[in-house]
């Protein structure tokens, strides 16, 4: 199960934080800080997995952005790595060539996309097209 999803830039500014487990705000800030510290200086050749408290963080860097998933210790790391990539492809498709600024100004849309992709800490949809289409329908309702 995914415990939380973080999207941070190299400076550690959080661009998206979604928690599927209840945490205090102060605890959330601590977690965000610690995860950033863990991943920011790792060699690109290293594994994309770091142990974090009793869980592990699967992260992947795209330009200046770090996408990090915190999952259970028994979860399939490689599958979640693929999952991050799929999410990035969806964002890229939706914003056509996504960049950090898109995510800043349209943060609420990013949350919406994520809600169509992952729910209750589990994968909801694996088709990029289905999610993009769904987003189109939702946009029309605005």
């Amino acid at each position: 199960m995914i415990r939380f999803i973080l999207l941070q830039n190299r400076q550690g500014k959080t661009r998206l934080a979604k928690y599927y487990v209840p945490l205090e705000d102060s605890e959330k800030h601590k977690v965000e800080y610690e995860v950033h510290r863990l991943v920011v200086n790792r060699d690109p050749k290293f594994t994309n997995f770091v142990e974090f408290r009793t869980h592990k963080v699967i992260y992947r860097r795209y330009a200046g952005l770090f996408f990090a998933l915190c999952v259970d210790i028994t979860d399939n790391e490689l599958a979640y790595l693929e999952c991050i990539h799929l999410f990035v492809e969806i964002l890229d498709h939706f914003f056509s060539n996504v960049c950090e600024l898109d995510l800043v100004f349209n943060f609420h849309k990013v949350y919406l996309i994520l809600d169509e992709f992952i729910l209750a800490g589990e994968l909801q949809e694996t088709s990029k097209r289905a999610i993009i289409e769904r987003m189109g329908e939702l946009e029309k309702l605005e």
Binding site: F46, E82, V104, A120, L123, R129
Partner: protein, 902 residues
């Protein structure tokens, strides 16, 4: 309509925040925005509600408090339009979580929205419920969600399936309602619904045995067929990743099959073919393929045994392990940890590669590999593996050394074939990474050394050599200093030389050098320095030629700013200067430390969770025969007298033994102090000359063997170490009367008669203002009663008027205080006051009354004789005299200690 259109738009706020150059500027902008939003909330402004909330979400993401917006979420959720609801639910998920009471208010809105005619609104409600549902909400809304599992639109069905997962995680009792609708989802063709249905079934299997049984019986075949279809499906652009159709679905299916196959031969049998197909046909050049292989291997390892499949799986792991991609190697190591329970030999074959992974530059891989190596060690390969690990210790990263040393120490303790090897390896680790070694590890080493009497010489020489190169490694220095203190003479004379050793030429002064370096080294801590002082005291008696030099070093530390070092120096200096006659017995070798007691202590103090690294048992076949006399164990078992002492752990125990319990003492709670006080009994004045009764069980009796010891060694050793040396006492019968002890301190030493009436007087207390001398006597034929004559002398230039002396004793003693000879104490020692006390011990022969030093903040022992002095007109008020470190009072030079007390 764009939601964020008019006024200070969301976009403008984000721009303004981004334009801030400093954190202070940002705070100012945010404060202004928050103020505006608050005003707007107070005015109940409907038009901008959703925009305000969107802003608040952004502000929340930056880390500012936004609780005042919580109610706005609820209002938006309650409004009719989709855009408002959307923002409301988003805010609900971001700003609130399941623990907030506000959430109770939203249950009703959720219920309405779950039944809404607009399926997009139903979707919003399901999404919010899936992400923040609490147990109460789960109970209230489960029927709605259950119904939605059959909704016509697949988008709703998949959301409902994931919502159900959350519900049964929160309330497992609800699981049975979901079994049938969940199983129905397994027949879906829509990937999204199918994958969520599979996940729901996997979770159902976890919480409900009935669900597991039902799915196993009815759906194993169907799932195998589904997996077959997915594996063999033609190219589907919608789900294609690296040439594989929906690897996520593969992974979820394999996971559910694992749950069904585990512990059931039939189900396992049904999936063998497809697992073999997945394991052999899946492309392994891309991450997606490897993710499937990885999941497949785990399923093969978990389901009921099928030899052929397991070989296949182990081969895949072997391939993974030699992959250049670190991620793949990482998961291989991860999986080999599981494979080890299935087939140790197969994993052992990869030992060399795994050992290489321990040396990887990536911490994640190193950590996994180290765990795996730890599991691979056995009696036959422990030596080469340990050598590799210790060699690597020299070059490893600083941050990895902690883990690595812990594992090496644990391996060495667990599998050591012989003591000498154990000691060798531990010394290597200490020399290389002594600063990372946990206290209990070097404590255990000292216990082992103490028990290996044939290796004392060898060990102390090896430590001496190691010290020359690694004097920065704290725990090496501690062990070295301890051993030099104990076995320093063996170091010099090459005693107990082993064939493998080169002889060393070491002079007495070289040895003292080592201890002096340890004492003066700036980087070493108080415990080490305190141990060094004890070692010096011991050496001073063993090396007469260096005695002067040692005395100088000790004198030098009398001015130490650290109180503990100062105290010890003062005490030791007095012993060296004034008590030559008892010094050699005082500093005799420690008795052999009891391994069994230490081991149980240690095992008891270690939490179960760290058992892998703790390695509790010292499994040394050629261990010295441990002393088996029961009283000895009793004595070592310090906490027996205070059963609930919270601080008594293995570590404390050995620290007590070594007399190094410095850092903890001042901060420990009262209970622990009591425990110490209980063991600190020193002067059994009132039971002197009485045959001891060892059979009774009261607190003091545990300590009573002190009375019948040959020499005061044990008690005086308590100067530095608290009590364990008294273990020696049991071994010997009483040879000299206890008052020997006081000889050293009394101004006029004289041999007491055995059951005689006169004991030498001694100065109980002396400061710049007052001296108190006690004379003890016993009447022949009345051993219960001790007569104490106190003599007070005023050392100040002023007379003391209204001088009152008071004394208090525990209940089992009776005190009779005669009137003082006067209440005016003349100045400058021109005359004195005497006062007689008669102390009767009602339980004479059963309980020993002791004069025990009462240190703050501990409470006096029940058997403590407290003597207090109260002198009117002066600040000097209470004085407790007695044992342990308090001997220091009896030494007139130690006024600093006294000032602390007075």
């Amino acid at each position: 309509m764009n939601t964020f259109f008019s006024g200070t738009r969301l976009r403008d706020m984000i721009r303004a925040i981004r334009a801030c150059k400093t954190a202070a500027e940002e705070r100012a902008v945010v404060r202004k925005e928050c103020a505006a939003i608050r005003t707007s909330i107070n005015e109940n402004d409907q038009d901008y509600r959703h925009r305000n909330l969107a802003k608040l979400m952004f502000i929340h993401m930056l880390g500012y408090p936004t609780h005042f917006g919580q109610m706005e979420c609820l209002k938006l959720i309650a409004s009719a339009g989709f855009p408002e609801k959307r923002i409301g639910y988003l805010g609900l998920m971001l700003l609130l979580d399941e623990r907030q009471e506000v959430l109770m208010l939203v249950t009703n809105s959720l219920k309405q929205d779950l039944n809404h005619s607009n399926q997009y609104i139903v979707g919003l409600a399901l999404c919010a419920l899936g992400n923040i549902c609490s147990a109460e909400m789960a109970r209230d809304l489960a029927p709605e969600v259950e119904r939605l599992l059959q909704f016509r639109d697949p988008n709703i069905r998949k959301k409902a399936a994931l919502c159900s997962i959350r519900i049964i995680r929160k309330v497992p009792d609800l699981a049975e309602n979901f079994i049938n609708p969940a199983a129905a989802l397994l027949k879906e063709k829509h990937h999204g619904v199918l994958i969520t249905g599979i996940q729901l079934c996997t979770d159902l299997c976890k919480v409900s045995p009935e669900a597991l049984e039902f799915l196993r019986k009815k759906h194993t075949e169907g799932l195998v067929r589904t997996l077959k279809d997915v594996v063999n499906s033609p190219y589907a652009p919608e789900y294609d990743i690296a040439g594989i159709a929906d690897p996520f679905l593969h992974v979820r299916l394999l996971k559910l099959l694992r749950a069904l196959g585990q512990g059931d031969a039939d189900a396992s049998d049904a999936m063998n073919d497809i697992l073999a197909q997945v394991a052999t046909k899946t492309e392994s050049n891309k991450n997606a393929g490897n993710a499937i292989l990885y999941e497949c291997v785990e399923t093969i390892m978990s389901i009921e045994d099928n030899g052929g499949l397991r070989v296949l799986a182990i081969n895949i792991l072997g391939r993974f392990l030699s992959n250049r991609d670190n991620n793949i190697r990482y998961v291989a190591l991860n999986m080999l940890m599981k494979a080890i329970t299935v087939d140790v030999q197969a994993v052992q074959r990869h030992r060399a590669t795994i050992l290489e992974c321990v040396k990887d530059s990536d911490a994640s891989i190193r950590k996994r590999a180290l765990e795996l190596v730890y599991l691979l060690v056995n009696e036959t390969n422990v030596k080469p593996l340990t050598k590799e690990l210790i060699d690597y210790l020299e070059v490893s990263d600083e941050e990895f050394k902690g883990d690595l040393t812990a594992k090496i120490c644990s391996i060495v303790e667990k599998f050591s074939p012989e003591k000498i090897w154990y000691i060798d390896q531990m010394l290597k680790v200490l020399a290389e990474a002594g600063n990372f070694v946990k206290d209990e590890v070097w404590h255990a080493l000292i216990v082992v050394i103490s028990n290996a009497s044939d290796l004392h010489g060898y060990t102390v020489r090896a430590l001496y050599k190691a010290f020359q190169t690694s004097s920065e490694q704290e725990s090496l220095v501690r062990v070295a200093v301890w051993c030099i203190g104990e076995y320093g003479d063996m170091l010099m004379n090459n005693v107990g030389m082993l064939a493998i050793e080169d002889p060393v030429t070491v002079t007495e002064s070289d040895i003292v050098d080592v201890v002096e370096i340890a004492l003066k080294h700036h980087a070493l801590d108080l415990t080490t320095k305190a141990m060094a002082l004890i070692a010096l005291l011991k050496l001073s008696s063993r090396f007469p030629s260096c005695s002067e030099r040692i005395k100088d070093i000790i004198v030098h530390h009398k001015g130490s700013l650290v109180l503990e070092l100062q105290q010890r120096s003062l005490e030791f200096n007095s012993i060296i200067e004034k008590h030559q006659n008892i010094r050699s017995t005082l500093v005799e070798r420690m008795p052999i430390l009891d391994e069994a007691t230490f081991t149980t202590r240690r095992a008891g103090s270690l939490p179960a969770a760290v058992s892998t690294s703790g390695g509790a048992s010292l499994n040394l076949p050629n261990g010295a025969v441990k002393p088996s006399t029961a009283p000895l164990v009793d004595l070592l078992d310090l906490s027996d007298d205070v059963p609930a002492a919270p601080g008594s752990s293995g570590g404390d125990f050995l620290q007590d033994l070594l007399g190094v319990d410095l850092s903890t003492a001042p901060t420990q709670s009262g209970t622990n102090q009591v425990q110490k006080a209980g063991t600190d009994v020193l002067l059994d004045l009132l039971s002197i000359g009485v045959p001891p009764v060892q059979s009774s069980t009261s607190t003091t009796d545990i300590l009573s063997p002190i009375q019948n010891e040959k020499s005061p060694i044990a008690t005086l050793d308590a100067l530095s170490s608290s009590s364990s040396p008294s273990a020696q006492a049991t071994s010997s019968a009483r040879a000299a009367p206890m008052m020997d002890l006081l000889d050293g301190f009394g101004p006029s030493p004289s041999k007491p008669e055995n059951n005689g009436s006169v004991y030498p007087p001694f100065v109980a207390f002396e400061s710049s203002s007052l001296r108190i001398t006690f004379n003890f006597s016993k009447q022949p034929g009345n051993p219960q009663t001790t007569l104490v004559q106190a003599t007070f002398t005023n050392l100040t230039p002023n007379d003391f008027t209204d001088f009152i002396f008071q004394a208090a004793v525990p209940k089992f003693l009776q005190l009779h205080l005669d009137p003082a000879s006067s209440n005016i104490l003349p100045a400058s020692g021109n005359g004195s006051i005497t006062q007689n006390m008669r102390v009767t011990n009602n339980q004479h022969g059963k309980r020993a009354a002791s004069l025990v030093y009462w240190d703050q903040p501990c409470r006096p022992q029940a058997s403590t004789l407290m003597l207090s002095v109260y002198i009117k007109g002066m600040d000097l008020c209470v004085l407790y005299i007695g044992g342990h470190s308090s001997l220091r009072f009896l030494l007139p030079s130690q006024q600093i200690t006294l000032h602390r007390l007075l």
